[in-house]
């Protein structure tokens, strides 16, 4: 099964993090990245820019687009990055995710696949 591990972040955490905290998080991600690429096939990952760099698009009933600043929806948490990997099952994916640093929280979602 292919899973996407989404990392949830809060803008304010970036704003208030000390250089040491940032450094630690980067090292943890590097370790996690290495671990995942060694053990999980189909592994890919991207780190996203901070949440306030986001642009959101919504469409009304008439089909007009409304473009607004910030992540969608307008909540404190937004996705800061993601990892995609193959795992045997949800339990294996949870085990893997536990190695990922998480300031706010993580979400695992199976990726839709056509058989």
């Amino acid at each position: 099964m292919k899973y996407m591990l989404m990392i949830y972040d809060r803008q304010e955490l970036y704003d208030t993090a000390t250089p040491e905290q940032m450094e630690t998080a980067m090292t943890q991600h590097a370790d996690f990245y290495r671990h995942m690429s060694e053990h999980f096939p189909g592994f890919t990952s991207e780190r996203l820019q901070v949440p306030n760099t986001a642009t959101s698009l919504t469409q009304n009933a008439r089909g007009d687009w409304l473009i607004t600043d910030g992540p969608f929806p307008d909540v404190k948490e937004s996705i800061g990055g993601f990892y995609v990997f193959d795992a045997n099952d949800l339990d294996a994916a949870i085990d893997a995710a536990k190695h990922c640093p998480a300031w706010v929280g993580l979400e695992l979602r199976p990726v839709f696949t056509h058989e």
């Binding site: 099952d89 339990d91 949870i94």
Partner: protein, 410 residues
Amino acid sequence: MDSVEIALRDAHQRSWAYILASVVRFARDLDLAEDAVQDAFVAALESWRRDGIPNAPAAWLITAAKRKVIDRIRRDASLDRKLPLLIVPEGEPDMEVPSDIPDERLRLIFTCCHPALNLEARVALTLRLVCGLTTPEVARLFVVTEPTMAARITRAKKKIAVAGIPYRVPEAHELPDRLPAVLSAIYLVFTEGHAASSGTRLIREELTTRAIDLARILTRLMPDEPEVIGLLALITLADARSVTRIDQHQQFVPLHEQDRARWNREQIQTGTDLVERALRLSANRVPGPFALQAAIGALHAEAPTFEETDWPQVLALYDLLLEVVPSPVVALNRSVAISKIEGPAAALRIVDQIADSGALATYPFLAATRADLLRQLGQISLARTAYETALSLTTNSIDRTYLRNRLNAL
């Protein structure tokens, strides 16, 4: 009922989970397995009447159901499967004949109660798949419509297949992650039955009986897990005392007014023995929340009167429980023990701290506890306000009557 019908009813009661669990692993599809087992029971009626009841009815039913699975897969080979196949780890032997090896049922229980499923879904699936209740029966027990319950069960099954929840027994090191989801589901079945708020007496008794049965099965399957034993102890002790919680006028009776002579002594003995076993098995570790709550329940059950309860011991257990489960509800319950040892003023200080934190703002028992302590301290007008707050937060008619009576008695 003829002998074949009796044999089938027995097989359903005793071996349903076993049979279904074995067939699920073979079919790797919950719906397909359920249908096949259902069909096997129907086929057995005719076949057993013709050929006699087999020596091993459960094994017969498993074999028949597996054959039905094969037939269905052959027949529907061209059709698209609605859901992906269940993930069944390889290398585990298939248990063709039910034996003392409990893994088959455990697989089913842990799959129905995976923490990735919400509590309602876990409870519905457990009653449907492990207890073998029909969807209308589960709906009736939870006082929801049949389509609502059917949708809930379908959604849960879909999540198991699509999210890749594996059909297997977790390993020992995974139990801290996995066991609480199982225990909380069984406990909810019990508390739903124990609560006086909804359903008829019959429904409530069926739920508590189911919960005790499930907990008992689990203790047989995992005899060395202290929290499993703790859960069985907790609900056994609560059940032993349940007859006196509501009087003949359907009114709530607080613990200190209950007629202890009517408590079920046999169940209390069983529960107390289980508590001791759970605590012994937790040796060198802080016991888990179920074992601790059960130990508190045992102290209440064993006390000859409310006043003679071993309050220092109760408080010591609450201190541990608060460490394990740092929740404001536990802190509130702990305050009752404080009031018995240090007096109502000390307890009120704790309750006010909880109230100030805002954590239980809509919890009627916070206001009710405050009201009771204020009453004991002779602060009648403050007590009245607190009872009124509690009333405004309660919709349950039994609790409302109780609070109203307390208010009027001031």
